[in-house]
């Protein structure tokens, strides 16, 4: 599936580290959104980013800026601040997906399974989101003991987005 042409947007929380990886992602899909992680050599990635896809507003941030790291309530605050339905953050290298009345907070985990001081036994993982109208289906792909396991979570928005000037 990770071949050029199948994915419309790529959202990356950061710590790609080197330009080569950015170039590779660009070959999968030209619409690439990246926020800055502390090890990124490219210093011009923004600290946060918001974008609208279909009926959903998405927010993106690496997450080392949100303390305590991985804390849902603190992340929810960022979500409120960015005023987004879906907040995507990283840093912990642990896949999580929380639904709460304000929206959804997703952490796709580490695509490479890299070491993390926060998470033991990191399994490589990434997330695909299928946005269709007021519904988004989140597919999470995890590599556990050499096998790829897929799980899915459904979210539905109650109201359409009001397009406020951003």
């Amino acid at each position: 599936m990770l071949v050029p042409g199948k994915i419309q947007h790529i959202i990356c929380t950061g710590n790609l580290c080197i330009k080569e990886v950015q170039d590779y992602l660009k070959t999968l899909c030209p619409d690439l959104h990246i926020t800055r992680g502390e090890y990124d050599e490219e210093t011009r990635y923004p600290e946060t980013k918001t974008l609208t896809i279909g009926q959903f507003k998405l927010g993106l941030c690496h997450g080392h800026q949100v303390i305590p790291w991985g804390d849902l309530d603190s992340l929810a605050m960022l979500q409120r601040q960015l005023d987004v339905d879906i907040l995507v953050t990283g840093h912990t290298h642990q896949f999580t997906a929380y639904k709460h009345e304000g929206g959804v907070v997703i952490n796709p985990g580490s695509a490479t399974g890299a070491y993390s001081s926060i998470t033991y036994d990191v399994n490589p993982s990434f997330v695909l989101m299928d946005i269709d109208g007021l519904r988004v289906v989140v597919y999470v792909y995890e590599l556990i003991d050499g096998e790829v396991k897929v799980d899915k979570i459904d979210f539905k928005k109650t109201t359409a987005t009001t397009h406020s000037a951003h």
Partner: protein, 790 residues
Amino acid sequence: MIADGVEDEEKWLAAGIAGLQQNAFYMHRALDSNNLRDALKYSAQMLSELRTSRLSPHKYYELYMRAFDELRKLEMFFKEETRRGCSVVDLYELVQHAGNILPRLYLLCTVGSVYIKSKEAPAKDVLKDLVEMCRGIQHPVRGLFLRSYLAQVSRDKLPDIGSEYEGDAETAVDAVEFVLQNFTEMNKLWVRMQHQGPAREKEKREKERSELRDLVGKNLHVLSQIEGIDLDMYKDSVLPRVLEQVVNCKDEIAQYYLMDCIIQVFPDEYHLQTLDVLLGAFPQLQPTVDIKTVLSRLMERLSNYAASGADVLPEFLQVEAFAKLNNAIGKVIEAQPDMPILGVITLYSSLLTFTLHVHPDRLDYADQVLGACVRKLSGKGKLEENKATKQIVALLSAPLDKYNDIVTALKLSNYPRVLEYLDTETNKVMSTVIIQSIMKNKTCISTADRVEALFELIKGLIKDLDGAVLDEVDEDDFKEEQNSVARLIQLLHNDDPEEMFKIICTVRKHILGGGPKRLPFTVPPLVFSSLKLVRQLQGQEENPFGEEESTTPKKIFLLLNQTVETLSNIPAPELALQLYLQCAEAANDCDLEPVAYEFFTQAFILYEEEISDSRAQITAIHLIIGTLQRMHVFGVENRDTLTHKATGYSAKLLKKPDQCRAVYACSHLFWVDDQDNVKDGERVLLCLKRALRIANAAQQMSNAARGSTGSVTLFVEILNKYLYFFEKGNPQINVAAIQSLIELVTTEMQSDSSTPDPAADAFFASTLRYIEFQKQKGGALGEKYEPIKV
């Protein structure tokens, strides 16, 4: 004559073609009216055009081809004639009345074809007659084309076994004899061309000879197609006869071409079985012949033959192919001490490929070949020549490709020695090839010894070798190189902690010699490999009776400290700080308080002394706060010192909004969910109040500087933090405080002097919505939130 050259040739060719076509026209008329006499007359005239000496082989060929086409029609006519009652024997005699010898012979061959088909005489007799008769033409170009014609018309009429022209001989001896004779005569003619004409036209002659070579070579091709030749006949008569001609003609061009022809045209099994004879011919050739190329091609063919299937391999062993080839090459190199180094390496490269295919398990053979190469290279110093170094890369890549495994290649003792002779650039190229091979094959390099050997091999990438000028390296290339070294470091692994630690130490030893430009690439992967090892050891029970020497997290941390230190001097302080914090957290997980404290100290020193860029400071401070927040290993005193420092840094950031955010982040240092003794509600509130003061100051400054009070975002953020701790049960945070904050924000937003900020409005709105949600939840939470009015 040279000056007139091409233009004249074109004229003569045109004239020749015109003459040919005219006579052909009359010939056709004669054929149509069954006029044999006239047919012969005009065909002879037509063929007279081929008597010319004025055309180069290239142009002569054009004339020849037209004549050839016409002769086909004539042949058909002859066949009709014999059916009409004219005896073919009579015809055969009749055509010999043609006035000039060349037309006569072309006609004779044409009739001969019909004669053989008629079967009125054995094919072998007719062919023998024809091949002898053709001796009448001794002019090289004309003779070659005539004999080529003979070869073409006789091709399908050879008395081969299984052919209808076999006769009663039941062997292909006669067919072979005929082809060999034609071949021999053609070669003689061809060689004779070399010596015709003045010395200054030598180059032109050689070019013309080159154009004609396929005519000669075709005979060998025909030979290879004769069914009746089996291995024995090939060994006993065919090959010796051909080689005899090749050697005796003493002509460089012919020898080179024909040796190569033999190799390409006859089956590989034959070559294997006649290896002695074949190789024995090489020393007998003219010294100027490019033997190494022919030998290389032979070895290439044999390599491919070996690769075609495992069932042919025993044959190779049986004829001791490797030994024979090895000897032959040795002799060739010895006999030509002035052979350029490129030639030597090409030969050994081909031999190595051969060895890898035929004897994949014989590392000693491969090593032998490399050793011979080393011996030849020694005393020459580092190679400069581009092609030669490319060949060496090919030579060294061959074992990598075959074994798919640098570890096996490392077992070849001469492998690193060959690398020594590469200049720095090529060493880097080779090193990159090696690393790519490792990554592609996921080769497991799992012992410190192997790592040592490997890093020795790729030292061109690891450090500056003598004579290397770093300034000349393209920056992107340099980054790519170093990133591939970094990837390599990540791949080195052994499950046994002792061995893994040795690997880490070995890698460290090598990369520390890399210099300031390389360390930022190579140190991080090493640090993370080490931290992974720490975590692995963490899981194991600490053995109080363990040996002094055994690896412990403490030892690793010591190493880490010394390693990360090297980055601070480069300078790469942000990177160093991040790595120190990673180490601190790992030390925390191992319950090593002093070690963790030391790492924090180092990080703080870096922050104070080396990190002055505002943006870098903001990132650094968040990392510090985030890491510190997670520490559980510190006693009260240490924790206090560190948090005090952290909050101090936060308040001193350049811009007020950044100060504010860092300070309220610090509030989390005093309240950690899973550590009951870290729930100091008062100090949390102090932090938040401090943040509030800073936010106020920011508003005032903004008013003073810009005339408006700026965005209320900071206040909304702080409000959210109040709610956070309120929910967690901080007794110091009460409804009143929250309420007044809400009112503050509302007032500010409605004030005239505030800058409208839709983002802040939306933020505030969603915060209020959140409060509503919490109220709706009911239960204890709902009760808590109930008093708050929005």
